[in-house]
Amino acid sequence: MYFENFAALINMDGHGVYVWASVAVTLAAMLWLVIAPVIGQRGLIKEVSRDIQRQQDRQLAAKKTFNHEESN
């Protein structure tokens, strides 16, 4: 390591605040760029499966009314 110890690495001769703030913001932004689409995908899949469910329910209901009318 270039620095003598861990404290020196954090402090960086007084420049630590600037360096670590930059690193923190960058990592947060990059994490967000990969986490947001993963969460978004989950939501999309849920939405599509709800659509499928709704369609199946509707088909089932239509069949029931049809059968009901026939038995009458």
Partner: protein, 271 residues
């Protein structure tokens, strides 16, 4: 706008579409199939994530803890290891977005408009990161967070261009019209990229000249340069990962009514 893309695609089709050479272009059309891309890219994701993580971690630890400090700027120079790669990708990403838009206009390839739409927010975030880290670096180096230097101003314009492309996506009811308008804006905006690149030479103000140039050796010692190179490779890998993830969501959103998406979702819910 419509006449332009119609003219371009007709021109292309009359030359190639029905010719005997179509088969040699098959890979190109397959790549344009959202379904093919979605299924195939799912296999790439774990490897790409792992590679990006490893390379970025290596570069960051190397640059922050092991590289020697700069003689003039001291340790604040270490911001270069995230500032330069972010700025690099902000510009490369703009090209990727504009080229995807052009391919969409010319070949009417559905997926390329999706790539274009996905590239906009990623590029905007990376541009913001470049501006932010630059501002934080400016304080100990120049004594100010912000100056209206040519490089900084042209990067700010880049941020607005990305924002414009994103906004245009939602400005139309028709997806097709929105894609075409965004593609035109993206293409027109490419003039800004050489301006960003040359700004440090044309207006020799506060921002330091380029550290890395394709045409000459880096103006940096190898011990400092190697971690920077690793970080740039890492950022490219990360960019590819982010672009694929965002594109996949756009595919799901636009193809949600198709049978293959429904089958995929049913299979996922069942297993």
């Amino acid at each position: 706008m419509n006449w332009l893309s119609n003219w371009l695609s007709n021109k292309w089709r009359s030359n190639n579409w029905q010719s005997k050479e179509t088969s040699s272009w098959q890979w190109f059309y397959r790549l344009g199939s959202p379904r093919w891309f979605y299924l195939r890219s799912g296999q790439w994701l774990p490897w790409l994530s792992l590679a990006a993580l490893l390379v970025l971690a290596t570069g960051l630890i190397w640059g922050l803890a092991f590289a020697p400090e700069d003689a003039k700027q001291g340790n604040s120079f270490r911001i270069i290891y995230i500032h330069v790669p972010a700025a690099f990708l902000a510009q490369s990403g703009y090209f990727i977005m504009a080229i995807a838009g052009a391919i969409g206009l010319i070949w009417k390839m559905k997926i390329s408009f999706m790539v274009m739409k996905a590239a906009a927010p990623i590029g905007a975030v990376l541009t913001f990161v470049a501006l932010f880290t630059g501002a934080v670096w400016g304080k100990p180096t120049w004594g100010a967070y912000w100056v209206w230097d040519a490089r900084i101003t042209s990067m700010l314009i880049l941020l607005f261009l990305y924002a414009g492309v994103m906004a245009l996506q939602y400005a139309y009811h028709s997806v097709d019209a929105a894609s075409k308008a965004s593609a035109i804006l993206a293409l027109v905006g490419t003039v800004n990229i050489p301006i960003i690149n040359k700004s440090v030479d044309w207006w020799y103000t506060l921002h330091q000249p380029a550290t890395i140039k394709l045409t000459s050796a880096p103006s940096m010692h190898m011990d400092m340069f190697m971690p920077l190179l690793v970080m740039i490779v890492g950022f490219y890998l990360f960019y590819a990962l982010a672009l694929i993830l965002h594109t996949r969501n756009e595919i799901l959103r636009r193809e949600r009514k198709t049978s293959w998406v429904r089958e995929l979702v049913t299979a996922k819910a069942g297993g």
